[in-house]
Each structure stands twice: as C-alpha cells, then as structure tokens.
Amino acid sequence: MSLKQRADRQGMPCQDPQVRRHNFQEVALGYTKEQAMEEAGRCLQCKKPKCREGCPVEVLIPDFIQAVADGDFAQAAVLLKEKNALPAICGRVCPQESQCEAKCIVGIKSEPVAIGRLERFVADWEMRQGATLPEQAPRKGKKVAVVGAGPAGLTCAADLAKLGYDVTIFEALHTAGGVLMYGIPEFRLPKDIVEQEIDNLRKLGVEMQFNSVVGKATNVHELLANGYEAVFLGTGAGLPNFMGIPGENLCGVFSANEFLTRTNLMKGYCFPEYQTPVKVGRKVAVLGAGNVAMDAARTALRLGAEEVHIIYRRSEKEMPARAEEIEHAHEEGVQFQLLTSPVEIIGDENGWVKAMKCVRFELGEPDASGRRSPVAIPGSEYIMDIDTVIVSIGTGPNPLATKSVPDLELNRKGNIVADEDGRTSIPGVFAGGDIVTGAATVILAMGAGKKSARAIDEYVMAKTAEKAI
C-alpha cells in the first residue's frame, strides 16, 4: 500500500467543549473497538520501526498495534506492558507528538498513527477485564526503600517487587501517585485509573508508608542502617518557582501547585463537602504555557472563572505544553496573550490583586542557535484588570530529602547527580525522575525508575555475593 492511500487518522471522541468547561469529567472519551482496529490498520508494521526510537521506554509499538488490528486486545496488553508498566496513564499524558508519533513514518505524508490513543484503548480495555498480575520471582528476603510515590518511585517499586524484593515506599503526602494525583487534573487523568495502578502495586506486595517525609521523620542513612539494602530517591520537582516581581505575595496570587493540589488532591471542586477551599476569581491570569499552565487555566474555567488568560513571553510555537492540551484549552475558551510578560502585580487597599502590569515582546534576530528570542518593546507596558494570578513558571527540586544527606552530590540547581542507571555518589543510593532531570515527563520518570530497579538488583546481588565469599 502506498503512503498516500492511508486512511485519515481516527479522531478522538471528546466531550463537547461548552459542556466540559463546566465539569471535571474526562475530556477525551477514548476510541471504540472499531475505531481502534481501524486506526491500528494505518500502521505500516515497519521492519525498523522509527516510532520506537521516539519512545523513551521503547514500547513494542508495531507489535502491540498489530495485535489491536487483529482484535486480540489481551495479547496487545501483554506486549504493551512488557515495556510500560502504566500504559493507561502514558496513553493519556505522554507528549506523543514530540516522542513516538513524531517519528512515525506515516506522519511524513499524512498524520502519524495515533499510538498514544491506541495505548490508552488497550490499557482501558484490560482494566475493564480486571488486569492480571505479572509474574513474580520468588521472594529474596531483601528489603529496598523507595522514597516518593510518583511515577519514578512507583515504577521502580513495581519492578523490584517483581524481582522478589520486599519494597517499602515512603511518601510525604497522604496518598500515592505524586504529580499524577495532586497535579494533573481529573478531567485529563481520572484518579481512579491512578488508584487502580497503585492497587496493582499493593497486590505485588509493595508496602506504602504515607505521611512519611524523608528528611524529617526518617532519612536515607537511617534507612540504610535499618536493614534496607538500597534506597531509591524519586522525590520529584515539587518546589514552585515565582517570578520575583513586585506584588507576588498579594492575596489572590497562587502557585499552580497550590491551586491544582487544592482542587485535585484535596477535591476542592467538591467544597464544602470536602473541606479544603479553593478560590478562583472572575478574571484569571495564568503565567506560563506548559502542561501545568494549561491544567491550571482549564481548572480555573471549570471552577467558574469568567475569563482566563495564559500569559506567555514567547510565541505559540514555543509553548511547551502538549499540543492536545493547547488545543483543548483554545476550544474551551482560554485566551492566549503571547509575547507578553508581567512586570508587576498591583494590589488594592486590602492586599488583594486588582490588576497586572504587562509588557509586550517581539521576536528579535535569530541568535547563535537560530532561535529568535523575545525582546521587550520599549514603552509597551499596559495594565490588565485581573483578580487572580496563578504562577506556573516551573518548579525546582524539593530539598527536604537531599538536605538530610549532606554527602550526596547535587548539581548547581540542587538536582541529584546520577548516572544513566540512577547510581548516585553514595553506594546503595539511587535516584531518578524529576529530582535528577528537573521537571520532565511521566514516561521519562518511569524509564528512570525502571533502570534504577535493574541497577539496584545488580548492586544488591553483587553485595550479597561478596558477603557469601
């Protein structure tokens, strides 16, 4: 078949934008069986599948897609899970357009195969059947501690449990999932999906100690001294950055983390039945244009804001959010003020935000890297009437855990220095995910957890062999 004859990519059924901007139910509804098989038929089954090169965990893409095309969804699930422990999540949140799908051959002449949507379809299908547990090696009688229950920690724990280790996860919050639970909203990643994955982990025998802040209630050296053979640190990038402009501590200025955590983790959208309040004014400015900013903007709409503006210094092209989120935000009525940056937040006599002073930018000459960086236009300052500001300009590493391990090597920004397989400067201490790379993606964090699990196994086995001699 020639590339030209490829059928169109199957669209994703979605809730109507005018309806969904008022509810927290999932936006994308998922393919039907027929759609999935039709879409799977678009894959060329490349001998050297480029798509796999684009996937950080090298999912067996053509293989699982073939199984979907054959209608053998159970087999598809087995193939998918060989490389990806959390497909229902990745199928929903991976930036496919810059990963697997970016490399898909079909994408040259037409739209790429919808790998992410197929992944989601298979995972959802399997969940409805009641997922089967993977095989587990015999118990080794050896303990490993995992710090942080985000995607990095959860993946590392699952793989170690499968290898026969007794794994305990120490998590600071009252529930597992990390950003999957407190950051990414229900309408994009339903929490019961995350909970099912966590349940599977429990079935593998992984223990979870919530409300345990490593660096406070316990610390890494204490864990090593208390019989844990190794410690994996997957504590994420959870420290919100602020802009450092005047007025940033006024009432009505929130970090995206606060706004989203109140809404998602604490279920603020069910206030007052759930007691944690969340506040959104009438006119909201969200600073930044990544996934976090889109999530905050769309959440603000759903909580009843009349106007929501994304304020971003660069142009549309550079927005770091997933293409789908930007599109959904547009459809729902989020307004984009591009090439614009705030310089001051202005308060009223009671200390509440009432306006924001912004300056406009234009794209300058291309720099050495060929990128045209934005330059402020002199005299372009203007005032926007605004009553809520949500700051979403990135996060840094949370230092609570690392501060308690002064001998652990960190980089200038405070991220843990670790090699490809998560080995840090301290033998027996491994790290991966956002705490090593800085804020990145779910799939990269999972990949890091996976590699560390392998390296931890090697390390513990070598140590045991040494002792035996």
């Binding site: 983390n257 606060e258 955590t261 039945e273 007691q275």
Partner: protein, 284 residues
C-alpha cells in the same frame, strides 16, 4: 490511623489531644509542628507539637476551634482515629545556652507551642522568664506546666479575671526593666500579639523570634501557600520556618494573607452546621 489516646477540654473552644504517632514522637523537637487530616473529606490542619512522649509514642496538640476543620476535630473522642498525621515538620527552635536570661511569651493557644521551647531552654541551662496571657481566665491553661519549666512565670488576662490585668507586652516591659541583659525573646500567639511584642523589643535591640502560622497545606514546600515576607525575601514557613526573626517579618501582609479564604471558611462552617440537610455535593 492515629488514635486519640487522651482528650482534655480546657474550655468550650480549647481542647487537647494526645495522639499516638510514634514516628513523629520519636523525632519531634521544640518549635516543630505536624499536619493532620481528620478524615477523608477533612482539610490538612497544621498544629504545633505542644509536647511529646517518645516512650509512649504520643504527641500532644492543643487547638482552638475556629472554623469547620477544628470544630469537627473537637467532636472526636478518645479511641477515635485521625486518618493522617504527618510530621515533625518545620525547623526546630535554635536552643542554646544564651548569655543572659531569655523571655518566652505565649498568648492564647500560643501557650501550647511555647511550652516545649521553654522546656528545652531551661534544660539547656538558661534563666527563663515566662509570660502567658489570654483574654480571660477560661482561655488559660498549663499554668503549672509552664511554671515547672520557667525560672519565673507571669500570668496575665486582658480582663483581669486572673493573674495580673493587662497585656503580655506590659509584662514583658517589666521583665526587661528588671533585666536589661535580656538576650532573646520568643513570642508565639495570634499575629497581632506577635507584632505588638516585636514593636516593644525593637528599640531594645533584643533578638525576637516569632512562630508564624500562615495558611498551610502540604507542609513540605510544595505549594507556597505559606509564603511570608521576611526582609526582602519570600520564605516558605513550613520548610524555612515556622520561626523567623520577628523584626524582619511583614506582619501586615501576613495578616492579610490569613484572610484569603475567609468567604469559603464561612461557607464551610455554615455547611457543617447544616450537615444533615441534603446529600453530597453532586459533582462526582
């Protein structure tokens, strides 16, 4: 699950719990706090660790019923479980043997957090002048416990219903007049009281530590709800504090920030009072 093993009722709105939380008790130090979530639907409520017993594995909290969260908490009894307890959080007080006496001032429920600090200061060999105060006699507690950890204790009430009549600031001035070598002051209580104390001590040049109680949620530095302006810097009270140099704190801003959710808090309280009308929130 964290069971309540003892409950004491100091007044209709001020209550004490001893909570079994061995891992928190094992590490707790003066100046630290914990966060609890009473049940699935509850808020995360920060409270000071007013005392701890490492052997029993318990921590003590004294709380004033303010709104929906603490009112529901107050309804719990011995044997009931608290769903989540996380701690110890925050930086412990810097305790050392100071050159000269120290004064410790606690106002209202602020008496609870100053007790462990006074105890630690005394144990470190300091001469500790303690001042505790409340609006009236009913709101006072732990007088004997405070007496046991201080060299001298002054008790005041605003209305004169017990102890000396007047504010803790006046008592502190008297202490300073008699002891001009006063080295350090700790003041914990409502923000207006802490601000008043810092205004009194500023001209003396006596280092004054206050414990900030801004809005908090996670308590681990993740949300930034707890930001306070200290000098030119923004600090996160849950991880950088809660204790700060009181002469540097922008109290005006801090007090305004405490009122961010005022409207919602009223609604939550109203909802609690009308709990039995109608079902859930209908949003899921």
């Amino acid at each position: 699950m964290y069971p309540i093993v003892r409950k004491e009722i100091f007044s209709p709105t001020v209550k004490l719990f001893d909570i079994k939380a061995p891992l928190v008790a094992a590490k707790a130090q003066a100046g630290q706090f914990f966060i609890l979530r009473a049940d699935e639907k509850g808020e995360r409520i920060p409270l000071t660790i007013a005392d701890f017993d490492r052997e029993e594995g318990t921590i003590t909290a004294i709380f004033q019923e303010m709104g929906a969260g603490t009112k529901r908490l107050g309804q719990l009894e011995v044997g009931d479980n608290i769903l989540d307890v996380v701690g110890p959080l925050g930086v412990p007080s810097e305790i050392e043997r100071f050159d000269g006496p120290v004064a410790i001032v606690g106002g209202g429920v602020g008496i609870a957090p100053i007790y462990p600090i006074a105890k630690a200061l005394k144990a470190a060999g300091n001469e500790v002048f303690a001042i505790i105060g409340a609006r009236n006699k009913e709101l006072l507690f732990w007088e004997e416990k405070m007496a046991s950890v201080s060299s001298k204790l002054i008790v005041c009430t605003d209305d004169g219903s017990y102890g000396r009549k007047g504010f803790v600031t006046d008592a502190l001035k008297d202490v300073y007049e008699a002891n001009s070598n006063l080295n350090h002051v700790w003041a914990i209580g409502p923000m207006p009281m802490m601000r008043a104390i810092t205004n009194v001590t500023r001209p003396w040049g006596v280092k004054t530590i206050v414990s900030m109680n801004p809005l908090m949620m996670d308590g681990t530095g993740m949300c930034g709800a707890c930001r306070v302006q200290v000098g030119n810097e923004t600090k996160f009270a849950c991880v950088d504090g809660p204790e700060f140099d009181g002469h540097m704190v922008d109290f005006d801003l801090a007090m305004k920030r405490l009122s961010i959710y005022k409207d919602e808090e009223k609604r939550a309280l109203a909802a609690l009072e009308h709990q039995h009308q109608g079902g859930g929130c209908g949003c899921h």
